[in-house]
Amino acid sequence: MNEIRIQSEPFDPNIEVDILRAGNPAIGGVVSFIGLMRDINEGETVSTMTLEHYPGMTEKSLQTIVDEANQRWDLLGSRVVHRVGEMKPTDTIVLVAVASTHRGEAFQACEFIIDFLKTRAPFWKKESTPEGGRWVDARHSDDEAEARWKL
């Protein structure tokens, strides 16, 4: 079961993982990545952050990434949940959880999905700081992380 969800409401990543593993005794391991909002970025205090996305394309691009992961590894399910709209420090921004028979495939697939989400899925962060609002710049290190997978 592969679930992809974009939502403005907060969510509990633990519940998502419970749902992912429920009722499938073939699952030997689940690897999850939980992305959190920090209160400092580029040396400035960030009070809130607003995430914009491209409805339609976002879901499509995440589906493509998850499909690719399923082609590369034997997976027993995955869940990708991403928040949009306004959030505050400590909030969960994103969850990527992958289940498989053994840990190796789950670790790799989870990292693959988050790496490509960061460079291919149309989300944009805008931070509120004491200096005003600012759009977050893309990181070169994210491109390098993606390039390791050699698509």
């Binding site: 691009s61 759009w135 710049d137």
Partner: protein, 83 residues
């Protein structure tokens, strides 16, 4: 006609979410970009040759040499920063 969408910092700088464009004479996405640049002012700045602008055709990320046709949905946006 094609529909052209703008997101994030591009949308803010242009003060525009979307517009419609005649397809006549538009070979590819690069031509769409050039036509936007030719509007001048802030449009020339946002779509200047040294700016990193990403693009999508019908909700799939692609490059400037991708052909466009009537009814397509085109989008321009800055590098993505989700996750």
């Amino acid at each position: 006609m094609i529909k052209v969408l703008f997101f994030a910092s591009l949308r803010e700088r242009l003060d525009k979410e979307s517009l419609e464009m005649e397809t006549e004479g538009l070979a590819d996405l690069g031509a769409v970009l050039t036509r936007l640049r030719e509007r001048g002012g802030i449009w020339a700045d946002v779509f200047a040759a040294d700016q990193t602008v990403m693009m999508a055709l019908n909700q799939e990320m692609t490059g400037a040499d991708t052909q466009v046709q009537d009814g397509d949905e085109v989008a321009f946006f800055p590098p993505v920063t989700g996750g």
